[in-house]
Each structure stands twice: as C-alpha cells, then as structure tokens.
C-alpha cells in the first residue's frame, strides 16, 4: 500500500506571531519552522496503516513550502516515513487556499498512492478547506476527521468525528483521509529512526515541473487580504479572594447582576 501524508511547515506555534505591515504576510524569518503539530497525527495514522498493511507498503511525506526546509522534514522521516517530496517555488508565495490546493493537487497527481492523508487544521492560518479541495481536484472520496481506520475488503472502514458525535464510514481506495487528534498520539522518533532519516531521500519539485495551466501565487488567488489588526485588548479584571463557598458565590452573583447577565 502506498500512502502519501501531506504536512505543513509552520512557524513555531509557541513563538509570538507577527505580520509584516507591507506584505501583510506572516513574518517567518527569525522564528523556528516546525512540522505543523496537527500533521504529526496524520503522519502517525499513515505509519499505523502502513504497518498494518505490511508488505512493501510505504509512506511518502509531501509538503509545499516557500523553501525546501529539509531539516524540518527530517523529523517526519525520523518518525518513520520512507521518503519526502517537497514542492517549493518562490512563485507560490502569496497563494490563497484555492491557489494552494490547485498547486498541491497537481504535484500530488505525480505521486502514485492508494491513500492520501491530510492533516486536519493548520496552526498558522486555518481555513479547513484544503482537504475537500484536494479531493475534488484529484477525484477522490473524502473522509475527514478520522479517529480510527482499518483495512476492510480492499478499502477502509473509518470511524470519524462529526459535529454531534461520530460515524462509521466505508470507502474504497484510493481515497483522501484527514485525521482528528483522537487518532492517537504521534510517536517519538527513535535514535535509530533519527540516524536512518539521514539516508532517506527528500526530492524537490518546482512549479516548472508541474506545467500548470492556471496562475498561482497572489495572481492566482481569489481573495485579497485588506486589513489586519489585533482584536480589542481584554484588560486584567478584578480578583476576589473567597473565604468560603457562599462569599465566593455572592461575589460572582453580584458581578453577573451588575453586568445584567442574570
């Protein structure tokens, strides 16, 4: 079974985020780039399904990034992916979600796979629309928010989270899957994995290799960021020490009355 897992390289979620006033884009310089934490769950799912399918199954990691950040991708390889492909081209800068999905789909089309796993949300600028868009471009059934997946009758049986509970869904392959955080904690890279990752291949593709018909980057985008501002600041409020239950409750009740919330 051939599995491709897409990962996104994002600024360290624990670092303070700043926007360039001129370009209105996230400043990525000076901030360490890491594997999107949510995508590690997608990779974990890919590795589990590879192990269960056995044989000559493989996991390829795919990423689209302004620069081919090989060191960051090594982490995915150290976790157990077999190789990596990165689509990297300055012409991709400024792509919105529709241009991003278009470029990614065309690069993914060049990889052979039975299953495409896409991480759920992204930490840095989440729209949640990429998986569905990729499925449309590639003509794949799209099963999102998986918390469990098993090989059944040549396809997959997936338990997926819904807004109100969960569903069991069956899909033939090839298919696109996205994972929920409940799929299972991503594994740590072992020392052997880290050493082995150094020998694995990271291939680079550019826009020139894809022969796209439509423009990407800012010119191929259908949305345009106009303004951005920090939200109204929320100041530190009051603190009340409650000696016992009734006095604490009274303090809250009086506060809610004052705010006309009760």
């Amino acid at each position: 079974m051939k599995i491709v897992v897409t990962v996104k390289l994002v600024p360290d979620p624990n670092a303070e985020k700043r926007i360039d006033a001129q370009t209105k884009r996230l400043i990525r310089t000076g901030v360490e780039t890491v594997l999107n934490p949510y995508d590690e769950y997608a990779l974990e799912a890919g590795l589990q399904l590879k192990e269960r399918a056995g044989g000559d199954s493989r996991v390829t990691v795919f990423s689209m990034a302004p620069e081919p950040l090989r060191e960051t991708l090594r982490k995915a390889l150290a976790m157990g992916a077999d190789d990596a492909v990165v689509l990297s081209d300055p012409g991709l800068e400024g792509s919105d979600v529709s241009a991003t999905a278009y470029a990614m789909a065309n690069a993914l089309r060049k990889l052979e796979f039975d299953l495409l796993i896409v991480g759920g949300l992204t930490d840095d600028s989440s729209t949640g629309a990429v998986p569905g868009a990729l499925a449309e471009h590639l003509g794949l059934p799209c099963v999102t928010n998986a918390r469990k997946a098993d090989h059944v009758d040549g396809g997959l049986e997936v338990e997926r989270e819904t807004d109100g509970g969960y569903q069991t869904v069956r899909t033939p392959l090839p298919a696109l899957l996205t994972t929920a955080l409940t799929f299972g904690e991503p594994r740590y890279a072992s020392l052997k994995g880290i050493m082995g990752a150094k020998k694995k291949t990271i291939a680079t593709t550019t826009l020139g290799d894809l022969g796209l018909e439509l423009p990407v980057g800012a010119a191929g985008s259908k949305t345009e960021l106009r303004e951005f501002a920090p939200p109204p600041a929320r100041g530190k409020g009051q603190t009340v020490e409650a000696a016992d239950g009734p006095s604490g409750a009274q303090a809250i009740f009086a506060f809610l009355q004052e705010k006309k919330l009760v």
Binding site: A101, T127, E136, C142, G164, L181, T182, F228, V240, G245
Partner: protein, 327 residues
C-alpha cells in the same frame, strides 16, 4: 456575486440556530448586492424544515428530500449545492463553520471556481465587492479579506456571529433534481452523543471545567446544574478531555472548539494559551480557581480565588432563586 445562498445543515428536519442566523443575514446581504436570498436544504426531513424556514426573509428555498444525502458522506450534498448555485446564478454562499460545513466548503470552492474566506464573523458589501472579517492565528489578529469579483464566493461563518431575525413573506420552495451519479463513501452508522440539547458553539453561556475538577463526576454534579440554571452548555479544557473525563466534542481551545458566548465561566482551568484561543472572544469571562496566579487571571473579567466545590453549588442556588423570583 449578486445573490446569496445559505447551506442548511440538518438531520431529520432538525437544524441548529446558525441556520436561522444565516437565513437572516442572507437577506441583508442580498439586499445590499441587489439579488435574491436563497437557502438549500438537503436530506430526509428537508421539506419539513423548509416549511419552518418560510418564517425567515428568504426568496427561494431549494429542497432535496433525498435519503442518499444521509447515506453517502457529503458527496450528494456537494452535488446538490453545485446544482442550486448554478440555478441561482452568481452568488455569495454562506456555510456554517462546522466540521461538515468546512468539508462542503472546500469541495464547493473547486466546483464553482470560487474564492473562500473562513471563520467569518462579519460581512460588508460595498458596490459589488464583498469583504469578510475573520479572526486569525487563534484570535491574535482580526483580518478583513476581500473576495475578488467573480461569479461565486464562499464564506464559512462562525455560529453566533449574526442575530437570527424571523420575518418574511413565505419563500417559494423549489425541488432540486437528483443527480445520476453513484457515490463511493457510505455511512454505515451515525451516532449522536454528548446529549446536551444545546450545541456548545451556540450556547449563550458556557460553563467549562478543567484539571482542577479532578475527575469526571464534578462535570455532572457541579457544572451541569450551573449550566442548566444559566441556560448554557458545559465545556472542558484539553486536560479534562485528554484525561477522558468528558468526550472530545466538549473540548474548547486551539485543538477543540472556539466559543463566543455572552458569559464564560471557567472552573478549575488554569488558562493556558491553548485554551485561551478558544474562548477569549467571550463577552464576559469569570474564573474560579484555587491559584490567584493562574494565567487565566490575565484575561478574566472576574477571578474568584477559592474552592470551586463549595462556590459552584452556592452560585447555582443563588441563580435558581433569582430565576424563581422572576417567574
């Protein structure tokens, strides 16, 4: 973009509050764009719900009373929405920013060659331009993003962003024709859990518990009665969900749900950034915590330092008594 189309999520004729919010907002936007306000209702129970939607100011309600919508995973919904959009003509499409809404939106974006703005909390129309306001980076920034002039544009809209305003003259109901396509991903089982009648994202009041509660029982014995007294819903921090005290669909924060209630009461939640980004846009934040130095002190309107196990039952009593006097 001239008209406005609302995608209605429904199950057996039941829908969520966000449907009525979007139906109301669709009218305002359609008037600003000089077009029609439409809704698309799909699946078993759709006709019943369409009747209910007639009391909102819509012009046309497209309906497909088709079991395939409930049998196959989203594929029929996307087909029907595409068909409705083609029938209506150039339009702004409003989709609830929920798990299934986001899936539908991404796919429709490709079908209609549309732009998309996600997690929208406000929409402004000037001339033929549509500008959407949405929080980004977990609420650290608020952005205005224009949908460039094109036939179709999509906004996934945060529940509770708009007010529901009934009224209207009885929309025309139009049946959508079934596609001849066959579908691949089949739903074998569909389970609703977390029996709270009120969806967390839509609740006007959220009472959330964290690690400080120490186990699953206090969610039942402490938080549920308080939430009920306030007409709200119960939520949780990631620590509580990870510990298995509550199902994950109650988790609020970066990796869970984002809520914007009028009142948020955080009980035994320290207020890590992970949690903060899911609730900091709440109207008023009240925290009950043992630790006066907990991070939540920095963004609460009121922090009561004390024992939640003693405070919460007393507070519930005070609120119930006050309600009793009013009724």
């Amino acid at each position: 973009m001239k008209h406005v189309i609302v995608f209605v999520e429904q199950r057996q004729g039941q829908t969520r509050k966000v449907t009525f919010e979007l139906a109301s907002e669709a009218r305002r936007l359609a008037d600003a764009l000089g077009g029609k306000a439409c809704a698309v209702v799909l699946g078993e129970g759709a006709s019943r719900l369409a009747e209910q939607l007639k009391s909102y100011p819509l012009d046309t309600i497209y309906v497909a009373e088709d079991r395939d919508v409930d049998t196959y995973l989203l594929d029929p919904s996307v087909d029907y929405l595409q068909l409705a959009a083609q029938n209506v003509g150039p339009a702004l499409i409003l989709i609830p920013n929920t798990l299934s809404g986001r899936d539908v939106a991404g796919r429709l974006m490709v079908r209609l060659n549309a732009g998309i703005v996600a997690d929208v909390v406000d929409v402004q129309v000037s001339g033929d331009e549509v500008v959407c306001v949405s929080p980004k980076l977990g609420g650290a920034l608020v952005t205005s993003c224009a949908l460039r002039p094109s036939e179709y544009g999509i906004a996934t809209v945060r529940p509770s962003a708009f007010a529901a305003a009934p009224g209207g003259s009885g929309a025309e109901v139009v049946a959508l024709e079934k596609s001849a396509k066959s579908y691949a991903a089949t739903i074998q089982r569909d389970v609703e859990e977390g029996a709270s009648e009120l969806a967390l994202e839509e609740a006007p009041v959220v009472v959330a518990g964290g690690r400080g509660l120490g186990g699953p029982e206090p969610f039942e014995t402490l938080l549920t009665p308080l939430a009920r007294a306030l007409g709200g819903a119960v939520g949780a921090s990631r620590a509580a969900a990870d510990a298995g005290w509550v199902p994950y669909n109650l988790q609020i924060g970066q990796t869970g749900k984002t809520v914007t209630p009028k009142l948020y009461i955080a009980v035994g939640i320290s207020g890590a950034i992970q949690h903060k980004v899911g609730m900091r846009a709440a109207g008023t934040i009240v925290a009950i915590n043992k630790d006066a130095a907990a991070p939540i002190a920095e963004f609460s309107d009121l922090l009561v330092v004390g024992d939640a196990f003693r405070i919460v039952p007393e507070l519930t009593k005070l609120i119930e008594t006050a309600k009793g006097h009013l009724s």
